[in-house]
């Protein structure tokens, strides 16, 4: 019976089964791992090399297209950022302008005795020796020659010349400008003069008057050029020389003339021309 089963064919099959089972047993047990690693590593290296070459090849053809796409996208985004930034700047300007207008409106509400016309400063005098500004309102808007101009802080000047849609304002800092003022604490009157450098000074204050530094100057209304009680500035220094009738001093104006952007024109004040009465 056994000899019948042990035919050469069956014996060969049995040996093959035992060898395969043995190999499987060794593989499952982990004894063949170093052998596998050793035999597989050349294939892995080859596969890796091939994959890298393929990726390099693929990048070579695909990257330029991606770069072009990215560049165009980047340009589009940069444009968008620039547009948004310009919008932000415009909005910030609007906010600043609104703040100025609200402040002017507050000033107009707190001084209801006058009627005001708001105007924007659009230019300045060409000559450095003169202190004038140009505003965007003119005779079409009801402005007339000589009308006083103020801001929420105080006195700016008066209308010197005008056309239909614009007017030129002589600032109180101009060398040709004089403003009759009264000192709030000292209770005396004086004269504020401009200069070629844009500074203002106090003059015609009686020498026996004691003027305190920081005393507030307001328009007196004398001369009929400006309405009374508008802030002009504060006394910075005073000096009196011997054998003179009046003392002089320097004044810090309340208005920042270097950053004037909007002003109010007092439209219901009629200036008085006293020149025919001057001898």
């Amino acid at each position: 019976m056994i000899t019948k089963l042990l035919t050469p064919k069956n014996l060969r099959n049995l040996v093959i089964i035992l060898v395969v089972a043995g190999i499987l047993f060794l593989a499952i047990s982990g004894y063949l791992t170093p052998l596998f690693s050793f035999s597989v590593s050349p294939f892995v290296s080859a596969q890796s090399w091939l994959s890298q070459r393929y990726l390099a090849f693929s990048d070579f053809f695909n990257s330029p297209r991606d770069m072009a796409t990215l560049r165009s996208e980047n340009a589009r985004l940069e444009n968008e950022v620039a547009m948004l930034q310009s919008e932000i700047v415009a909005l910030q300007e609007n906010v600043a302008q609104s703040d100025i207008l609200y402040t002017l409106l507050d000033f107009a509400r707190t001084n209801p005795e006058h009627e005001y016309i708001a105007a924007t400063v659009i230019g300045r005098e060409i000559s450095p020796f003169l202190q004038y500004i140009i505003i965007d309102k003119g005779s079409n808007d009801g402005l007339r020659h000589g009308m006083p101009v103020v801001t929420q802080q105080g006195l700016v000047g008066r209308i010197d010349a005008l056309i239909s849609d614009a007017a030129r304002i002589q600032l109180i800092t101009d060398a040709n400008s004089t403003v009759n003022v009264k000192l709030q604490t000292a209770g005396v009157e004086g004269l504020v003069r401009g200069s070629v450098t844009g500074e203002i000074s106090l003059d015609m204050v009686p020498v026996d008057t004691e003027v305190q530094i920081g005393d507030i100057l307001m328009t007196s209304g004398l001369g009929g050029t400006y309405p009374p009680n508008i802030f002009v500035g504060q006394v910075l220094t005073m000096q009196s020389k011997q054998n003179v009738l009046f003392q002089t001093g320097s004044v810090q104006p309340v208005v920042d003339f270097t950053n004037l952007s909007a002003v109010l024109v007092i439209s219901n004040f009629n200036t008085v021309d006293i020149s025919p009465l001057v001898p």
Partner: protein, 167 residues
Amino acid sequence: MWSYLIGFTGFVVTSMLQMSVFSQWTILSGNADIVLLFVVAWCLHDRSKHLWLLVLIMAGMVAFVSALPPVFPILVYLLVYRASRLFQTRLMQSPLLGMLLLTFGASLLQVVLHIAYLYVTRVDINLTDALVQVALPSVLLNMLLAIPIHAIVREIAHYAFPKGVEA
């Protein structure tokens, strides 16, 4: 005609820039006068026969805008025009030198006229302050800006006066 139009447009743009921007760029109390610089540079580049008419119009416009007596810009600009004609014949090889000389002369003349005007109108001015705080910084700024303005006007002139074509 084309050159007059370009010159006038340049003048208008310069005037707007002067009133809105350059009047606020100051050293001490002085500021540059780029309108004068443009007129000087344009007179040095333009060889048109009737340029004096354009210069007169420019002076008239400045006189209209400024609070100064109208005769001042008219006098200064026409003198600049006359001097530029002399410079064109005698300093042809160095237009930049002509620009600097004319700028210096015209700025100085303007300063003298302005101070004289203030004296005549009996404005109490401190001469030292007027010179140190206003006049000298203004002349200095004009001299500094003369070079870029000259360069810009020269570029514009290339379009206005093509080579070989007399306007």
